[in-house]
Amino acid sequence: MKWIDPSLSPGRRRLYLGFSVTLISIAAVGLLYFVLNLSEEGRFRMRFDLSEVGRNTLDPTTADQLEKLEEPVTAHVFFRYENTVQSAAASEARSRMMDLLLVASSMNAGKFEIEVQDMEDLVSARSKMQELGAEDQSIVLDQGGRRAMLRLVPDICELDPTNAERTQWKVASFKGEQALVEGLLKVGTAERPRILFSSGHGERDPEGADALSMGEFARALAGDGFVVGVWDSGENGAIPQETTILAIVAPEDPFAPEEINYVRRYVDAGGRLLVIPGQGLFQGPGSMGDLLHDYGMLTQPGIACVPILDPDRGVMVVQDVACAAFFVGDNGVGLSATHPITKPIRDHLRKTRVSRSRSFERGQPPTGGTLLDLMVSPNRAQGRETWLDLPDDQGNYDQFPDIAEPRGAVRLAMAVEFPVGERANSEEADFDNLPERARIVGIACADFATNALFNYNRDFLLNSANWLAEREFNVRVRRYREERTMMDVTRGTEIVQLRLIAWWGLPGLFAAVGLFLAWRRRD
């Protein structure tokens, strides 16, 4: 400020001074803002992990996936504390996942953002969860509307009890980084798979909230990155070109021959189909049973039943409506051990639930195709045989194992995959972007995807959709490390020695030096 003319009056000098100070302050703050922004830009930013366990280093697969992000991804975190016997283990898993997200965010500033939802504010939390199709205790990755949900259990971690009473739990395996990469792969796919639910034949409503609708399934699909729509042949005509999956869920009115033809042409050209035959209309012309017959799944009359336990008498009983509703997958039994749809459910010891389910017989799959059983009812329950309850002359079911009724396990869901071009009368020209192999998942239980059973069957249904859309990301990354150096503070002499040094040694040494200097200075 030496440039201010000393000959100026004091008032003017002050004015100039004030002006120059303001100008310099603005310039300095502007420069600071510019430098800070520049330092945060990826090309100028350097980050080194100096921790011994590599706490700040992600697996190369993860780092590569984050690097390749073309649009920013936001991780919406819906974690909250729950006071259960699993609290401590779940807290540890949540904390490790948050650490992982922070590392990912730090490595990719601007490309990967974290938004932690305040779960204390229930109203806004619920509204946000509904908007994103999220579940409690989950993370939703969102990239411009393409979404993937990572659930704390079983996607991010597995919890196991550490005692027989199951009162203490631990994190058995932490798979947060793997889940993150799989999620990024899902949202990173440029094309969002499109699932269309057929309508106009008494199918379950994909927007309904009542027990027999399937609004929850549709929302979960949206949360998993699918675009959910409706196909009404009356309005839309043929199946749209951009359809990834066509879902026909429990139609109770027959499809017209032309509509069946639309579906056949779609599938034979490499289309993907999720079919659940109707409870009443499961066989005959215009039924889904009729359609599936051509692909090797033969819908059978009768309802799969298992004996149930009477809690009062402690014995297994039959002739109860509850016999028609049962779980599949006790200890993994009844679920395919190899198929991508059921293997994760089986591995995580989860179950599915059916109610008043029809069944399939195995037929002839299309040439070159593979037909697999996905879900089979139990053979026995507590030593008593299961059975297929057939209708009487009036078409009623008594849930009683008559002598003439078949016993043992029945097929409840099947999957078929076959190459296109092998089928007779194929008209591939209708669809030019479909894969070279067609896939169909058939489920015999009409209520399987309803809101009433969705909590039990969520994994099966979403895995089915992902298998049909070929969104199987079997990524394997190394375990995100979080080892810490521990010291035994209950035994041994280390803590005693440290206490001596920390409480007396160092303070004493510094006090002595200070006193010595003071004494010297006094002299």
Partner: protein, 249 residues
């Protein structure tokens, strides 16, 4: 920068010969000593967690961080101005920048010595057979030094603003608290204004810049630049204030 070295040496010697500085040093070491043992006992022996606690997550750490620098910087300009020494210094053949920088660096070196006790506890544990994560410890220490430098620079501004040392210390204390609390307050606001303030607060958020890199054992150039840039700005402001005071008078 003419005279910087001489001023730095003079200030450093002065600091280490001041009884107040030694009282603060011994008090901080006692507090750190109790903290390290308490943190180890409380965490069931988690050594890295305990050192992390001492170098960034504990309330005592932040209490020392916001209170010690103003107590040390209050004398650098304010006390000298009150005693009349500053006028001599400013008329000496040294630049104003050298005066501010020399004094600031002396305070930072003193605080670095204070925080060095934490790695000494680490060394003690290493000698006892328990090896801490040295990378994380070194960066935690570097983080503590950088935060000390930032808060000391803010203390220098306060010291330059007031001719009363106690008032300067109080002002510095308030400035430091504001620097810590303002980003948190802005972060809790919603709406468009809240988002804009949140973005600005990100450029001022000491806590996040410390926790996301230094305390995790990661050296991030953006975080180092964050601390250096803000420290530089406050030192620049302190220099301008001193210069302005001279012009005014």
């Amino acid at each position: 920068m003419s005279g910087f070295r001489a001023i730095f040496q003079r200030e450093l010697t002065g600091l280490f010969l001041t009884p107040l500085a030694w009282v603060l040093l011994v008090a901080a070491i006692c507090l750190n000593g109790f903290m390290v043992v308490a943190a180890l006992m409380g965490s069931g022996g988690d050594v890295d967690g305990a050192f992390n606690y001492m170098l960034g997550t504990s309330g005592a750490y932040w209490m020392l961080m916001i209170s010690l620098p103003p107590l040390l910087t209050m004398r650098t300009i304010s006390e000298e101005s009150k005693g009349g020494q500053l006028e001599f210094l400013l008329t000496a053949p040294v630049t104003d920048g050298a005066v501010i920088l020399g004094k600031h660096l002396a305070v930072v070196v003193f605080l670095s010595v204070l925080w060095a006790v934490v790695p000494i506890y680490g060394l003690t544990l290493e000698l006892l057979g328990v090896s801490p994560d040295w990378g994380q410890m070194a960066l935690g220490y570097l983080g503590a030094v950088l935060v000390s430098a930032l808060f000391s620079a803010l203390g220098m501004v306060a010291s330059a603003l007031s001719s009363t040392p106690l008032l300067a210390a109080f002002l510095g204390f308030i400035f430091n608290i504001a620097l810590l609390v303002l980003p948190m307050g802005a972060g809790s606001l919603g709406g468009t204004v809240g988002r804009a303030l949140n973005a600005l607060a990100g450029k001022l958020d000491v806590l996040t810049h410390l926790q996301l890199s230094f305390m995790r054992g990661a050296l991030d150039s953006a975080d180092v630049i964050f601390f250096l840039a803000w420290t530089g700005l406050f030192l620049f402001a302190a220099t301008r204030i001193v210069e302005g005071r001279r012009m005014w008078s």
